[in-house]
């Protein structure tokens, strides 16, 4: 008869198998394809030849590296802003909403009931020449004619992505804040700390692991984002993910597209590791 530990081990098999089949294996395939020298869709019947040619193209083309840099900066801006804006949301849910917290949490998650595309398309209506924002600015007399800058710009991509990510970012911060022992806050108050001091010296440090998790949860997928830039970015808002999409679709160059993907993955992982080393979460939180 299986012990509890043995049973748990078997329970872990399906998720590991799932991850292996649909995450690890495709990743290995992408890496393998990126090491092929040919252009065009891959014929798997062809003999496998190893080559770093695709990586040479990725690394020797300044325009590609520049765009990756821009995409990383955009992702960092989106992640930092979304995390900052999500922080008060999580704080409200944890400390102020009381018995209505579940209700507000459901409200927060309602946007996820609609399609991602629909939410981004809604921003096109908001940011367009005759959209809500331009109409409002003209109505209150701040502008005399519609601003061209709003839609089809890098700012539009950042703005839309921040909106999309705020509810996601609020969840890990909320979870971290729920774990804060109220006794710490009471002790701080007893020792004469005011509300602001308690917030800055108790709540923020203890919620920081959640905030960091939120930052990276937003940052990592945003670096490779391509749907939002396609819809609201125009020529200025193009991101690295759009080039990867191009290589797999319009350019039909799977090997180069794979090299782009692997390079982006490696750069993103390196950045995450470096950031985590710079910010020692455990030290900050204690």
């Amino acid at each position: 008869m299986l012990g509890r530990r043995g049973a748990l081990r078997y329970l872990a098999v399906p998720p590991y198998a799932w991850l292996g089949l649909f995450f690890v294996l495709p990743l290995v395939l992408v890496i393998a394809i990126s090491l092929r020298p040919e252009t065009g869709p891959i014929d798997f019947d062809d003999p496998w030849q190893l080559s770093l040619m695709q990586y040479q193209i990725v690394l020797e083309t300044p325009a590609y590296l520049r765009l990756l840099g821009i995409s990383i900066l955009m992702a960092a801006t989106v992640a930092a802003t979304a995390t900052l804006l999500a922080f008060p949301v999580a704080y409200f849910l944890t400390f102020r909403a009381r018995e209505r917290a579940t209700f507000y949490l459901v409200l927060l998650l309602i946007p996820f009931a609609t399609s991602y595309l629909l939410r981004v398309m809604a921003w096109r209506l908001m940011l367009g020449q005759e959209g809500a924002i331009n109409s409002f600015l003209q109505f209150v007399g701040l502008t005399s004619e519609p601003l061209d800058l709003l839609l089809y710009s890098r700012a539009a991509v950042v703005l839309t992505l921040i909106y999309v990510w705020i509810p996601f970012a609020a969840l890990p911060i909320y979870a971290a804040m729920q774990r804060i022992d109220r006794g710490h806050l009471e002790a701080a108050a007893d020792l004469g700390a005011g509300p602001w001091s308690r917030f800055m010296r108790v709540t923020v440090p203890l919620a920081l692991p959640g905030a960091l998790a939120a930052f990276f949860m937003v940052f990592i997928p945003t670096v490779g984002e391509y749907v939002t830039p396609s819809l609201v970015g125009g020529t200025e808002g193009i991101m690295y993910g759009n080039l990867i999409q191009d290589f797999f679709t319009s350019a039909a160059n799977w090997a180069l597209g794979s090299a782009f993907s692997v390079f982006m993955l490696v750069v993103t992982l390196v950045l995450v590791v470096v950031a985590l080393r710079l910010v020692d979460v455990r030290r900050v939180a204690t």
């Binding site: 020449q129 020529t235 319009s250």
Partner: protein, 358 residues
């Protein structure tokens, strides 16, 4: 209480016999009927509508036609290479050789096509590679400059796409070979033999042109036409479908006849080398060329059709204007999309990604 029946050794044998007979019967039906009664078509979104295969449907009501979709020529080629189950696939001029080189397409026996004689020889030739007929031509149309006549005076050259007066109201097609084509027209390059230096110049001029665009469009009816109709786009590389859509909405637009000539494209259908139903596929292609299906393409969707008799029978002034049917010189001023090599396709698309990345 249910009465128990006596176990019988005959029952399994009887069941096996019945199953065997059924299988034999089904097999016989299949043999009698010829091929399986289903057909898969790898198409572009929007082309699955019944108007576009109405004759086939009428002649073969028992056949289930399934559609799979590709988003670009490269995507369709990729799907075919990845082993798409499609019996029939649809792509556009410039990509004919790739399917032949990769062994993905079957040669067509045109003697079995009842509508083939209605297609002029020049159109038939577009479906040939090395003298063999691999494809049938179907939809055709133009690429040119679509412009808003309230904002832009008469356009006489493709170089209007580079005019800074229209900054923020230009939209170029998101396509590397398309960009090379436009530059070749403007500078008089031989499109089929663009040198490395010429390609570098093309890259530089499109990089400089990039800020003029509101965006690069990749879907005619999703992010080109709506903004031509709303008045945000004044100058665009466009197909005539968008011109007709904007005209129908009462937008003041014109479709240029540039001095360098318009571009013309033709859609082609091929039969997969691995088709499960090659005979049905051939009939599907034949019925694509049938009169009513062909006519639907022209009268309902304003694309050209390869049948001369159908095109000559068009009396609608609107369609005549859109397709320049009454202009006897239009062919002389039209540049047909050439067949490009895999190396050219790759170099041109990479050039375009660098433009986009800059």
């Amino acid at each position: 209480m249910l009465a128990r029946t006596r176990p019988s050794h005959r029952r399994p044998a009887a069941i096996a016999a019945a199953v065997g007979a059924t299988i034999l019967l089904l097999s016989a039906c299949n043999l009698i009927g010829g091929e399986p009664q289903e057909l898969t078509v790898l198409e572009w979104g929007g082309y699955e509508i019944e108007d576009f295969w109405t004759d086939f449907q009428e002649a073969n009501p028992e056949v289930a036609v399934e559609f799979e979709f590709g988003t670009s020529d490269a995507d369709i080629l990729g799907l075919m290479q990845a082993g798409s189950p499609a019996d029939v696939f649809h792509f556009y001029t410039g990509w004919q050789e790739f399917y032949v080189d990769e062994g993905l397409v079957a040669e067509i026996d045109t003697s079995k096509l009842t509508n083939w004689d209605a297609v002029p020889a020049e159109m038939q030739a577009l479906g040939q590679v090395d003298g063999k007929q691999y494809y049938i031509p179907w939809d055709w149309g133009y690429s040119s400059i679509l412009y808003n006549t309230d904002e832009v005076p008469e356009v006489t050259s493709w170089d209007v796409l580079f005019n800074e007066d229209y900054a923020g109201h230009v939209s170029m097609w998101d396509d590397g070979p398309g960009a090379v084509t436009v530059s070749s027209y403007i500078h008089g390059y031989d499109e089929t033999a663009v040198t490395d230096e010429q390609l570098a110049d093309i890259e530089a001029e499109w990089t400089a042109q990039k800020p003029l665009n509101i965006h690069y469009w990749d879907s005619e009816y999703e992010n080109l036409c709506p903004e031509v109709i709303s008045g945000d786009i004044w100058v665009a590389y466009a197909w005539q479908g968008c011109f007709s859509a904007a005209l129908a909405e009462g937008v003041p637009v014109a479709y240029a006849n540039p001095e360098e000539g318009r571009n013309s494209w033709v859609g082609l259908y091929g039969i997969s080398a691995d088709a499960d139903s090659p005979e049905l596929a051939l009939e599907f292609l034949d019925m694509k060329l049938a009169e009513l299906t062909c006519e639907n393409l022209v009268t309902q969707y304003y694309y050209g059709c390869p049948r001369t008799d159908v095109m000559e029978g068009i009396t609608d002034e609107f369609i005549i204007e859109v397709l320049s049917i009454d202009d006897p010189t239009v062919l002389e001023r039209t540049n047909f999309t050439p067949i490009i090599t895999a190396e050219q396709r790759d170099a041109w698309t990479q050039m375009w990604t660098r433009v986009k990345a800059n």
